[in-house]
């Protein structure tokens, strides 16, 4: 620690050069942070998907409807501990660009199935007693400046009333919060009974079932049993773990992971050259000074450590600045809420960033540090005379 001042002094020597290097490192880590958030936003946090939740949908595709009457048959399958129906509503508020997810659900079943949506008892109660009541996520409320009690008209081109109208009216009876950061709080949930009564076609059908199993280890067997139950029926089903469905969505967006990794690889390669050059030049310029330190009794190992500490300090300062900026930018919520409802830098990504900073410091410092270590005292001192 007492050497930290010495290390910091060396970075202050050429302020502009240090500043520019810090800036490039900072930008690289800023990109790293944002791309990490983007990847999460596009692919979902598969790692947090519940292993004990399955999705049962029409075998052909998720846009084909299946009868709600299946619910009782699913519930009767051994190992199934809960089941609830969800349907894609596709409601539009004022303008199609104000996109958000809206879904009819059965309130009690739904909230039991998804404890990550946190709703107060008062709001739950209001939802039970208000037929056209809706529960809205916090970020969505903030986005449109809605308040509890507001009446919200949505139009749903795919769900028209019997007379052909596509206008639906809802009353916001409550809001939900996220139990975890990765939970999307920009959705709009309303009651299935209100929906089913109001729609003019396809009554009694839904998009998919969320199924909870009592033993995650037996999820595969239960899925198979479930699909067997409806085999050769008019609506054959396909059941898969929640994570698989999230991944399925992700793959539709393309192999985002590979693209992002590619971009970051190029960025970091450039940074390696930039900051490697800064450290190498810095060390070369102070050959005599390193000679003096050794003459004073600094060991070769200590000199090696000082140069490495310098390159690591540079990388960490720049990295913390850049990654910190990315973190701050996303902490207040997504900058593009309609496009990317869940947008933040996930903690494992932050840790990876910290690891990268140290790695960057060690790699860029390795060569100049070895040079400084090997430098002979008398040769170094002679350069000046």
């Amino acid at each position: 620690m007492k050497f930290l001042y010495l290390v910091a002094c060396n970075l202050r020597r050429k302020k502009l050069r240090t500043l520019l290097t810090l800036l490039s490192i900072g930008i690289a880590f800023f990109l790293f942070g944002l791309l990490g958030a983007l990847k999460l936003a596009l692919t979902g946090d598969v790692s947090i998907a519940n292993a004990d939740r399955l999705m049962t949908r029409h075998k052909v595709s998720i846009i084909q409807m299946i009868p709600i009457s299946y619910q009782a048959r699913i519930a009767a399958i051994p190992g199934v501990s809960g089941v609830t129906a969800q349907t894609w509503f596709g409601g539009i508020y004022q303008d199609p660009k104000n996109f958000f997810a809206s879904m009819p659900v059965e309130p009690d079943e739904f909230l039991k199935m998804y404890p990550e949506f946190v709703v107060s008892d008062a709001h739950r109660q209001a939802w039970r007693t208000t037929r056209n009541g809706a529960i809205v996520g916090r970020t969505l409320m903030e986005r449109f400046n809605w308040k509890v009690g507001d009446r919200i008209p949505l139009s749903a081109p795919i769900w028209r009333h019997a007379d052909g109208r596509d206008a639906w009216e809802f009353e916001i009876v409550g809001t939900y919060e996220a139990a975890r950061k990765s939970v999307d709080t920009s959705q709009f949930f309303f009651r299935y009974d209100y929906f089913d009564e109001g729609r003019g076609q396809n009554k009694g059908t839904i998009s998919w079932f969320a199924v909870r199993v009592s033993d995650a280890a037996r999820a595969d067997a239960i899925s198979a049993a479930l699909d067997r139950e409806f085999a050769n029926s008019a609506y054959e089903t396909k059941t898969e773990p929640e994570a698989a469905m999230m991944q399925g969505f992700a793959q539709q967006v393309g192999d985002i992971g590979a693209i992002i990794t590619g971009i970051l690889g190029a960025v970091f390669f450039t940074i390696l050259l930039v900051s490697g050059n800064t450290i190498t030049q810095g060390v070369r310029e102070r050959t005599e000074e390193i000679g003096v330190l050794k003459a004073l009794g600094f060991t070769n190992t200590l000199v090696l450590g000082l140069v490495l500490a310098e390159s690591c300090l540079l990388a960490v300062l720049g990295g913390v600045g850049g990654l910190g900026a990315a973190w701050l930018m996303t902490i207040g919520g997504s900058p593009l809420p309609s496009l990317l409802p869940v947008f933040y830098v996930p903690t494992p990504h932050l840790m990876l960033g910290a690891g990268l900073m140290v790695a960057l410091g060690l790699i860029t410092g390795a060569l100049p540090a070895l040079q400084a270590m090997r430098l002979g005292v008398s040769e170094a001192l002679r350069r000046q005379a």
Binding site: K2, L6, N10, R13, A295, G297, L381
Partner: protein, 232 residues
């Protein structure tokens, strides 16, 4: 390191050769030298005669090609690099012609550098630094950067850095070589004081007969060998 009676430095039959391509340059050829504790020795000789080379051997900055260098009873030519560095930190103070202060640090921080290698606490380090700077008469300029100091003042900082660990031996390579007469004289007086009052053994390389007259003994280096000073 030793009692006042036994010699502090004993160099016996030392060779130092440098290789420049195929050519071998024998800078020191079978050189021997004994220095008593408390001496103030001036080392003179023509440019390129190997004065700095000899000083480097004494300071453990370099090793002889042949022969032994014994200081305070220790064969420093036989120490590993690591132990030699530790030995330097404890036992020698080096003063350079061009001061060799780190430009990015204040006088105080420069003087503190050798103490970073000790186990002293921050408060103790500060105390030692203040004492050393007071001895060289720079107590009032502790937070100045080298570029804000005159040559003579910078050399005083250099001397403070050399004495801050209280070493027995001071090795000075042309300490007044870059200074005007007046500043040079002040530096020489300071070295004399350190020699007389603090009992430092000093070896000083110089081209200047005026400077060597301040020493208690002068030796000449020429053609790789030492000879006692011819009376001027």
């Amino acid at each position: 390191m030793t009692t006042d009676q036994s010699p502090l430095i004993r160099i016996a039959d030392v060779d130092k050769t440098y290789r420049r391509g195929a050519e071998e340059i024998r800078v020191l050829a079978g050189l021997s030298l004994t220095v008593q504790c408390g001496e103030f020795l001036a080392l003179m000789g023509p440019s390129g005669s190997g004065k700095s080379t000899l000083l480097n051997l004494l300071g453990g900055l370099d090793r002889p090609t042949r022969g032994t260098v014994e200081i305070g009873g220790e064969r420093i030519d036989a120490l590993s690099d690591r132990r030699l560095a530790g030995w330097r930190a404890r036992h020698v103070g080096l003063v350079f012609q061009f001061y060799n202060l780190l430009p990015v640090m204040t006088a105080e921080r420069n003087v503190e550098l050798p103490l970073l290698l000790t186990h002293l606490s921050k408060a103790d380090r500060r105390k030692h630094v203040a004492t050393a700077l007071a001895i060289v008469g720079l107590a009032h300029r502790t937070s100045h950067y080298p570029r804000q100091l005159s040559g003579g003042e910078q050399q005083r900082v250099g001397i403070a850095r050399a004495i801050v660990t209280d070493p027995t031996l001071l090795l000075c390579d042309e300490p007044t070589g870059d200074l005007d007469r007046k500043s040079g004289d002040e530096i020489l007086s300071l070295l004399q004081t350190l020699n007389r009052e603090q009992g430092k053994t000093i070896i000083m390389v110089t081209h200047d007969p005026h400077a060597s007259s301040r020493a208690s003994r002068t030796v000449h280096l020429d053609k790789g060998q030492l000879s006692a000073a011819a009376p001027a």
